[in-house]
Each structure stands twice: as C-alpha cells, then as structure tokens.
Assembly symmetry: C2
Amino acid sequence: MSERWVWRLQERPEGMDFEPAFEFKSELIPELAPGEILIKNIYIGMDAGTRNWLHPREDGFDVPLPLGSAMIGILVGTIEESNHPAYTKGMLVRAYGQWADYSIVNPAEAGVFVVDPDIDDIRQYIGLIGPSGWTSYFGVLDVGKPKPGETFLVSAAAGSTGSIAGQVARIAGCRTIGIAGSDEKIDWIKSDLGFDEGINYKKDNVEEKIREYAPNGIDIYFDNVAGPILDAVLPNMAIHGRIALSGLMDSYNAEGPVPGPYKFEYLLHKRVSITGFFSPDYFHLGHESDARMRQWLDEGLITFRFDETNGVENTLTAYKKMFTGGNIGKSIVKV
Amino acid sequence: MSERWVWRLQERPEGMDFEPAFEFKSELIPELAPGEILIKNIYIGMDAGTRNWLHPREDGFDVPLPLGSAMIGILVGTIEESNHPAYTKGMLVRAYGQWADYSIVNPAEAGVFVVDPDIDDIRQYIGLIGPSGWTSYFGVLDVGKPKPGETFLVSAAAGSTGSIAGQVARIAGCRTIGIAGSDEKIDWIKSDLGFDEGINYKKDNVEEKIREYAPNGIDIYFDNVAGPILDAVLPNMAIHGRIALSGLMDSYNAEGPVPGPYKFEYLLHKRVSITGFFSPDYFHLGHESDARMRQWLDEGLITFRFDETNGVENTLTAYKKMFTGGNIGKSIVKV
C-alpha cells in the first residue's frame, strides 16, 4: 500500500458540529523517517477528553491540535513496516496514532506498547487494558481512596470510564451506585457489572434518588460530567467525602464560561475534597493497572462492553455518539 | 452581681442587617445548675463562621441557633462562680460562651480551657492561640501540605485566619502572597507579617497580579472568601496545586444560591484539589497548634493584631466590621 485514508482537522468545531471541522482524505504514505513505524490500524478508541485538542485555547492541559493535523486517537494495530530496531513487522501494538487506516508514529512519542496477542479480545487494549482502565483504576484507588463498606457513586456509569470505575470500586469493597441516561444502561450496569443501584438521570430526580440509595451519604463520587448532576450530588456527600473529577462531559462542547456548581458551599459544609486528575499523570504506572485488569478479566471479575462502529469512514458517527450518550460501553471504530 | 447584659437572637438577619435580628437586654442571672460555671467575660472574638448559625437552614455544618437564644462566641474571661469541682473562682479560661458581660456555661459543652495567665497578652487566647490559630495551622499544614520553596497565596490576608495562615506558610518555608482590600492592609502584611507580596483586590487586576508574582503558579491557595477571587486564582494554580477552602466570606450573607467558580474546569486542567475543612474537626488536636503558636509567639516568629471594639453593647459594630473588611487583624470586643 502506498496510500492511506486519514481524518484531518480543518477548522475548530462548534459544539458537536464535527462534520465541517474534519476532512476525510486519501493521501500518499510518506517514507518512514528513522525510528518511525507504520501501523495498520485495527481498532480506534474514542475518548471524550480528546475534545480538548479541538479547542483553540492554550491554557488547558492539552495544547490544541494544529489545523491541518491528522486527528489523534488511541488504537490497536499491527506493525506493517518498521524503521526502529525494537519493533518488527507483525507485532501487535497499542499506540496513540492517527484516525486513519494506517498510522505513522514515532514510538517514543506515541506511547507504543507491544501487547500480548494471545488474549480473547484484542479490543481490551483500548478498553480495560489501557488509558480508560488507567483513568478508572487510579481515579478510584489513588484519588478516591475507597475503604470497604463505603458508598461509591459514578456518573456516565455506562460509559467506558464509568463502567470500569464502578467495577473497580466494587472489587475494592464499596457499595456502588451508577448514574446513566437510559433504562437499558441501568439494567446493564446492575445485571452485568454488579452495580447495587442505578439512577436514570433522564427520568429520576437525581438528588432524591441519591438520598434514597445513600442515606448516610456518598463517600466517593467519580465524576465524569460535572454540571447539574454534580449539584445534585454535593448536598448528598458524606462528611469528609472525596470527589474524583475525571471529566467535564457536560461542558466540553460549551461555548464560553460555564458556572461551577451552585452547591459549591457544600465542599465546606461537608468538608469534601474535589480533585481533578487525568490518566497521562499515571502513564508511568500504567503497567500496574494493565496487569491488574488483565488478571481481573481472566478471573471473570470485571467485564467491559464495546459500542462498535464499522469503517474508519464512519469515525465521526462514533465520536459524536460518545458525547450524546448514544453508546453503551466504549465507543470504538473497527477500521 | 445578679443581672447581666446579653445579646439574644430575635429573628434571622437578612444579609448584614444585624440590628433588627438581635436584642441587647438585661436579665437576671439564674442559679447555676450542677456542673455549670459563671464566667466574667473579658474579651469576645468575632468569627465569620458564626454567620452560619443565624441562617434557618439545617443542612450546613452548623445547626441554626434557635430564636431567643443568647448569641455564642469564643471568649476569654475569669471564673466568677463555679458549680464544678475542676474549676475554681479566679481561673482564667477560654470558652465558647455568650455575647454578654457574663457567660453561664457547662464546661463539657463549651470547650472550656484553663489558660496560663502569665502571657503578655491574654487576647492571644482568642487570637493565635485558639480556634483561629487551629484553622490556620491545620489548614496550611494538614490540608495545604506545604513544601519549602512552594508558593502560597491567601485571601482575606489581613483578617485573623489569613494573617496567621500566611505566617505559618512562611515558617514552613513558602513564598507568601496575600490578597487584601486596602493599601494599609497590604503594607501591614508585608512589613509586619513578612509576606513577600501583596495584592489589593480593590485596585489591582487580581488575576494579572497573581500571574506576575507567581509565574510558575500557586502551589497552595488558602481561601477564605471563594467568589470572584477564586476565579482569578484558578487559572494561576500550579499543576497538582492544593486549595484549602476555609471560608466563603463572599457568600455568607447572600440570599439564594451562589454559582460556584466559573473557572471550575481548571481543577481538571491543572489537576488541582479543593478541600473544605473547618477547625472543629481539629478540636482534638488543638493543643498541638496552641503549643506551637505560643512557642512561635515567644520566639518572635509570629505576630497578630487585634481590632478592638470597646463595650459589649457595641458587639454588632465589631461583628459587622469583620464582614465588611473594616478590620485589620481579628475583630474582638473588650467587654
């Protein structure tokens, strides 16, 4: 092959109107530079946090992706060609590569991991085993610091991070409550993932339901969305409760400043802490989460679901699905 | 004496309109119940947190003071009469007692401490040595976890808690920056308290000034006010910075919900934690702070200023002064 199909960012998207912002085009694959490798992408994972790369602002944790760049995502694929002595053709790898059918990456910059192909489902390398897993694993254990018997709540509980976080908390001995946007999702997290309770935020009064399910308060809230749901949680936090702030799904697509929680004062009333964190800070510890996830997976203690979209040409559909809550489990693209 | 003058709460105040809410009246001192003591109040300390007792709401950390009750405050005084074997007439004590010239308290409930009268200034028992000291000491050291060389910022820096917090951080080896509302206050915290920099929020662009004085970011923000100043601080926090949320001065007198910080998202961008705390949680460790403060005081390492109002009949003037920033140092009443 000498050509590839690739998604390039052409302008900054407004809200969730991604179509005008990206162009899907065919282009020549350039000669590999020394040290580079060419990956044949098999699966590409969609991550809400990547929305930050599309903003022009430079004061966030991510620098904006320059216009004209190929969009970046986590992927699993096989090495097709290598200009690097440590990587050889045919190896199965996980890497940050391009939204494309073929990725050209520099292993030192792209977090390339050679993975064991002898696994039931290689998609897990962009599911449980990988950045989504790290976010959930370290967010629950390092930020949330769960103790057996505590009550754990997570928003976007049927999403990739939320579904893992609830299971990690369950394994750590917590009672777990999940918030999601449909009865189907609630059924899934309770029956398949072992959540104790579920709250459908589109139908239920979230604040009342939390009070009902956690009359002694929430010890740990793993927050993927902020916004009004955080306001429903704050008055229900237990004294000295911890909030692990993983994402701001509610405001990623907002234009202009979004007010913080109106119930902010409960941080003081309840002596609660909120801690923002993100998985790259745990990159150096990723092997710990990966090994544990693989073990739990093999033992049948943890499960994960993929919401698969077929064809790299349909990547924007998969991407948008994640922001609209259309997916159950992790939104991925089968290239 | 068989009569006393006492401030009783008659209705819930609106905002800072305290006059209609309180009545100053003369009443008979009742016979002491078994275990009770009668204290001749010498100084009464004003604390912003007591504003919470005046609200009707029951979901805060303090239960509302019932209408008709004598208002409560921290005070230092001498025991005038005792019905308790451990306390004898003439002892100098610190206690939570009444806004009055004489307090009747049950030592078990009123946190009565017998204090050393052999100190240069007995007012320190409601200044550096006591709850204001605890708040600052544990807020800086336990919540903020300062490391030498870090940059520490405090709001309401010329108030009682803020002025101590800045000095504790300085002693812990931090560069210290204080925010206050007048040039006189800024001069005081820099020349007398040893702050490295001061920002006058009534004149300066707070966000720009913080950026100028802390180009590498704020490692610890000790926040007494929240509100717009917190929004000016958030984009200037260092990665993994800590915010010790001590008070919400900006909203204590607000009616209705107050939005949280508009720059809330920076918690995630900068992976910052905000932790609400309050000094009663450190009550059991108060002796540690008290001993350290006394030592620093004797060594001349720390200083404190009182803003004294004369006459218990003028208590509301002293109380209001604290909320309007009219005081430098701790607002107290000389009975």
